[in-house]
Symmetry: C2
């Protein structure tokens, strides 16, 4: 019944339209008000605390805080305990995100971003073993996400990294070698320099084409 108390607390916070920084009633009062023991209230509060919705200090009581949207997400994103289906779903999600990035990137990118991307592809070493390949992928695509200037986005993508690695590994074990698209990272940088968002989307599609092919095969 800690579930219920959690729900009640949530409703309470909503109803009273608390703003971040406001103080909450003390644990014992909440327990009395809800007709449960302080123990149960603490379990529920512990959950909200984990989600970053509240912050509690001794004596001062508890304060409503701005929840960290992605914090809770990170805790369950462990490829080891995810079903293969979910992993696959997240892999597709990542593909969709990369395909949709173009407009946001073009809206926000600066000259120095291009330079950094160029530097990243210049440091890429070809025909190396898998671990390094994955590193390159992360460096390049990670920079693309950062260029959106969207913090939630950036964190989201870094959370999806282990999932990505896992699926790439899985993909490898089937087809034997890492699939590489016709459009390289270097090509994408060139497109960013001279092309339009549509061109970049088309290039990214080519770059990711092996993954899309793999999807279709399944």
């Amino acid at each position: 019944m800690a579930d219920l108390v959690e729900l009640r607390l949530r409703e309470y916070l909503k109803k009273k339209s608390f703003r971040p920084g406001d103080a909450l009633p003390k644990e014992q009062e909440l327990a009395d008000a809800l007709g449960v023991s302080r123990n149960v209230v603490r379990e529920a509060l512990s959950r909200l605390r984990m989600l970053g919705m509240i912050d509690s200090r001794k004596k001062r009581g508890m304060i409503l805080a701005e929840p960290d949207i992605l914090g809770s997400f990170e805790r369950v994103l462990d490829p080891l305990i995810m079903s293969k289906d979910t992993l696959h779903d997240l892999f597709e999600l990542r593909l969709v995100l990369e395909m949709g990035l173009a407009d946001l990137i073009y809206t926000r990118m600066r000259e120095e971003d291009i330079e950094e991307l160029q530097s990243i592809v210049d440091h890429e070493v070809y025909k190396v073993q898998k671990p390094f390949r994955v590193e390159h992928e992360i460096a390049f695509h990670g920079k693309l996400y950062r260029m959106t200037g969207n913090d939630t986005f950036i964190r989201f993508q870094s959370m999806l990294l282990p999932v990505f690695q896992y699926v790439v590994h899985y993909e490898n074990s089937i087809s034997g070698n890492t699939a590489v698209g016709k459009v390289t990272h270097r090509d994408l940088v060139e497109i960013l320099r001279t092309g339009e968002p549509e061109d970049f989307r088309a290039g990214m599609k080519e770059h990711l084409q092996p993954h899309f092919d793999w999807l279709r095969k399944k």
Copy 2:
């Protein structure tokens, strides 16, 4: 220090490489092993239970379960307690998702999906007040997400709905009226029938153009 215990439990589960369905040690044993009271262990367990990582039944003990990736997410996605910045980030995320959907949709869509989309646009009433407009948006774009056949995706989008409404409302309060793109839902359906993924992406871009313009203005 429930934070710590939570972390420890998580490490423990990872180290022992438990599979869903396996039984966990009982609460008292965990408490003894970690050198804390059963109370603290319960707080940590309560968190994991909330995340869907474990499932506990009386007498039978606790079982490791497959976490519900998005369940925890839903709990904090309340526009009321989110900062304006985060809301904005999520709005952008939604735009990116819609722009990237094309390929997945084309890979999975069936004839009856088109029919349903057609039915949705046929029922749209023009020049109606805002609440209905939002309803149409949800019906149409929601169907697009469902056409991907990706459950995680579908749930993710339904979670983002309130965020979307909130931002649309905010957008309205600034520009005075709801911005509408040159490409309508009806046009998009037609593209799905006869066009290629690239055409759909271009159409979607036009459809969402007012939102992108709004982003640039900020």
